[in-house]
């Protein structure tokens, strides 16, 4: 598969901080990509460079095989920033039309697409309402529509589910899957790891302006697994003495074991089979993204990221 976006050695330094410090990665067409990181890691700065709001100090952005052109490539990108809002006094329909025209759509084209999306998300009755009449969830929905309306190749969503109830969140989630299936690429930035685990194919974790993790969700989990297995037995024998593993935890009939160096999962299974114990369940424990995230970020003191002097 070809790449929709490639970042090469992007840097953006502020007066007191290296907001983005030499980050490179690429995103495949049609994938759902998770950009993760603690607060202040440089995610927003990175996204603003990808959307052309900021220019990088150095490094290169390649969009769809060509050097990124912030002025003409706007139509290819849909960006829903974390700090987002709408004109409060403007009517919903006019607002959607205005935002679509700003992206570069003609009026008739924009109208057609607004009608399609409003119908799809059951928002037709909103047309003449003002934003101040909408609930937070409703305006989130409207913002999502205005972001994807012009069918951009690259959709960037920063915390898209904040403030949405589970029903509406699912609705948006389905739309995201749908867009990805139709060939759109979605960059998804969030702190909510369970959503990332559920939705994303590929993730990058940034911290202190640097990339510290890059890979598919399953490969990352493999990378950080601790070789722990969970076994459920009908009855637990009095003493466990095996070369292949050590007992970590025991809850009733459930054992958590850690495999020793040089052994495999089957060795554990074999031990219990040899002892003629009936096994009810046996599975490997993979770390959740949440645990990986906390593990990687906690030691770095990123939560108290100090201001530094940038002289170069």
């Amino acid at each position: 598969m070809s790449k929709i976006l490639e970042l090469a050695h992007l840097k953006k330094y502020y007066a007191t901080q290296k907001a983005v410090d030499d980050i490179s990665f690429s995103i495949e067409k049609g994938s759902i990509f998770g950009l993760l990181g603690p607060n202040g890691a440089g995610k927003t700065t990175l996204l603003r460079m990808i959307t052309g709001i900021f220019y990088p100090d150095s490094g290169e952005i390649t969009l769809d095989g060509q050097k990124f052109d912030p002025i003409n490539d706007i139509i290819k990108i849909g960006y829903m920033p974390e700090e987002r809002g709408l004109y409060k006094k403007m009517k919903i329909g006019e607002q959607a039309l205005y935002l679509a025209q700003l992206k570069g759509l003609s009026k008739t084209e924009a109208m057609e697409k607004i009608k399609f999306w409003f119908k799809r998300l059951e928002m037709e009755s909103w047309w003449n309402k003002k934003v101040e009449d909408l609930s937070k969830g409703m305006s989130q929905k409207l913002q999502f529509v205005t972001t994807v309306l012009h069918e951009p190749k690259l959709i960037i969503l920063d915390e898209p589910f904040s403030g949405l109830d589970p029903v509406n969140a699912n609705l948006i989630k389905d739309e995201i899957y749908g867009l990805a299936q139709r060939g759109c690429t979605v960059i998804f930035s969030t702190h909510r790891m369970e959503q990332v685990e559920e939705i994303c194919d590929h993730i990058v974790l940034v911290n202190l302006g640097q990339k510290i993790l890059d890979g598919t969700v399953s490969s990352v989990k493999q990378q950080f697994k601790e070789n722990k297995f969970r076994i459920q037995l009908q009855e637990v024998p009095g003493n466990l003495n095996a070369d292949s593993f050590e007992l970590v935890d025991q809850k009733a009939n459930q054992l958590t074991v850690k495999i020793k160096e040089g052994y495999k999962g089957n060795d554990v299974l074999k031990y219990f089979l040899d002892q003629n114990l009936s096994i009810e369940a046996y599975n490997e424990i993979l770390p959740s993204l949440n645990e990986i995230f906390i593990n990687l970020v906690e030691g770095s003191k990123s939560t108290t990221r100090a201001f530094q002097n940038i002289n170069d």
Binding site: A15, R48, T51, G52, I53, Y55, I71, I74, I77, Y79, M80, P81, E83, R84, G85, L86, Y87, K88, K89, M90, Y98, L99, Q101, L102, K103, G104, Q143, T146
Partner: protein
């Protein structure tokens, strides 16, 4: 479609379609006119005559005190000083004037004026003027000086003919009219800068507070957004002004058509718009023709052309600065006050120079003020009103215009840099020092 135009169209339409726009654009002049109409109506309609009973025991006035004015009437009565209070309490007269038998014209004796209630300032002044005039005439008479002699003494007034070296007349009325035109257009531009400048600032703040700025910035460049906003609001201002001008002339015309007698009687009234007062002053000095020629000597198409240029130039120059301040302000509108100070200072400074420049259009201060782009929109109007080349040379005018255009490009360039950083900055109180840092930063 060009994105600046798209943004401008939204800014324009959302403002013009608001009910408050109609209210302020059409309602305001109507209210002001209604207010004036009421004042004029009531001042014309004062029916309560102030009747003064004069008991002239010394026969100083010969039974007559000149009173063209219908409001104060002097009536001579044969009554003693004891009987006068009775006349007042009987409501026949409002006041009495008692001239004692031994009254002489040498100025050492005083007259007694008694009224049933406190006399208003205007009436008091009228009474004083009438009586003093009557006394003055009597004194001249006593000294055997005739009216013709007095007039011949005073005739020097128009002896000096002011004119410029190149032979143009430089009449007092023309200077007066230039003064008024300069003052009015200078103040209009001052008001425009403030009203529409703050409108731009509020618009920017609204975008920032409602968090739509970043959404928009991902579709248009910050510069396009800023220029679109400035253009749109500028168009609102122009439309509003055109409507006002049409309304003002229309209403004046309508009033003249509907109440021809009213406009005439208005001329004699003390409370009037400033322009009319000036006209009245000119008229009372017997030089209505002078005023007309003064107005005719002013090149109105030229002045209106200059006005529009400095209106647009000044607005563009300042509105981008107002936009920059708006972008730096967070939720708290209080912050705007302190940030605005460096912008409002030159405008106020300009007004001060302008009031000097209308009197002396060629002073060093006026020349500086009319060339310096931050003050020129206001100050130059004061000089232009005096005409070219009397008030300002063509060279200075051209130079001022070029400086204004350069100034506008400069402030826009600086403001755009502040704006694009400020619009995405949340939660931090920004100082002028930081704003300058953004402005000087390389993009």
């Amino acid at each position: 479609m060009n994105k600046i135009l798209l943004v401008a169209r939204r800014e324009f339409l959302t403002r013009v379609q608001k009910k408050t726009f109609l209210l302020t654009t059409i309602g305001l002049p109507l209210i002001i006119f209604g207010f004036y109409a009421m004042i004029i109506y009531f001042s014309v309609k004062t029916t309560d005559n102030f009747r003064v009973a004069v008991a002239d025991k010394a026969n100083i006035f010969n039974g007559k005190i000149e009173s063209k004015d219908s409001e104060v009437i002097f009536e001579f009565v044969q009554a003693d000083s004891a009987a006068l209070p009775e006349l007042i309490s009987s409501k026949k007269y409002s006041a009495s004037l008692y001239v004692p038998t031994g009254f002489t014209l040498n100025g050492n004796d005083s007259l007694q004026f008694k009224s049933n209630k406190a006399v208003g300032l205007m009436t008091r002044e009228k009474i004083q003027r009438r009586i003093n005039k009557a006394l003055e005439d009597k004194r001249y008479e006593a000294m055997h000086i005739s009216k013709a002699q007095i007039d011949s003494l005073n005739q020097d007034r128009d002896l000096i003919k002011f004119s410029t070296a190149n032979g143009k007349t430089d009449g007092e009325t023309k200077v007066g009219v230039s003064y008024a035109v300069g003052m009015i257009s200078g103040f209009l531009i001052y008001i425009i800068l403030f009203i529409y400048g703050t409108m731009v600032m509020r618009g920017v703040m609204e975008e920032k507070v409602s968090r739509i700025a970043e959404v928009i910035i991902s579709s248009v460049k910050p510069f396009q957004l800023m220029m679109g906003k400035i253009t749109g609001i500028g168009a609102v201002g122009l439309i509003q002004f055109l409507i006002w001008i049409v309304l003002v002339f229309g209403l004046q015309f309508a009033i003249a058509m509907l109440f021809p007698s009213l406009t005439e009687s208005m001329q004699g009234q003390p409370i009037q718009p400033a322009g009319m007062q000036a006209a009245q002053a000119v008229k009372s000095s017997g030089a209505m023709n002078g005023l007309m020629s003064g107005l005719a000597s002013i090149n109105f198409p030229f002045i209106i052309g200059c006005f529009i240029f400095y209106f647009i130039g000044g607005y563009l120059l300042y509105s981008s600065l107002f936009a920059a301040v708006g972008s730096a302000v967070n939720e708290d509108p209080q912050d705007a006050q302190s940030l605005l100070l460096p912008i409002t200072m030159p405008i106020i400074f300009a007004i001060v120079i302008m009031t000097k420049a209308v009197n002396d259009p060629n002073s060093g201060l006026a020349i500086f003020g009319s060339l310096f782009p931050l003050t020129s929109p206001i100050v130059m109007m004061a000089r232009v009103a005096h005409g070219v080349p009397d008030g300002v040379t063509y060279f200075q005018l051209a130079l001022s215009m070029i400086f204004l255009i350069l100034g506008f490009l400069g402030t826009t360039w600086v403001a755009a840099k502040i704006y694009r950083t400020g619009i995405l900055m949340y939660g931090k109180k920004i100082t002028w020092k930081e704003m300058m840092k953004w402005a000087l930063k390389k993009s």
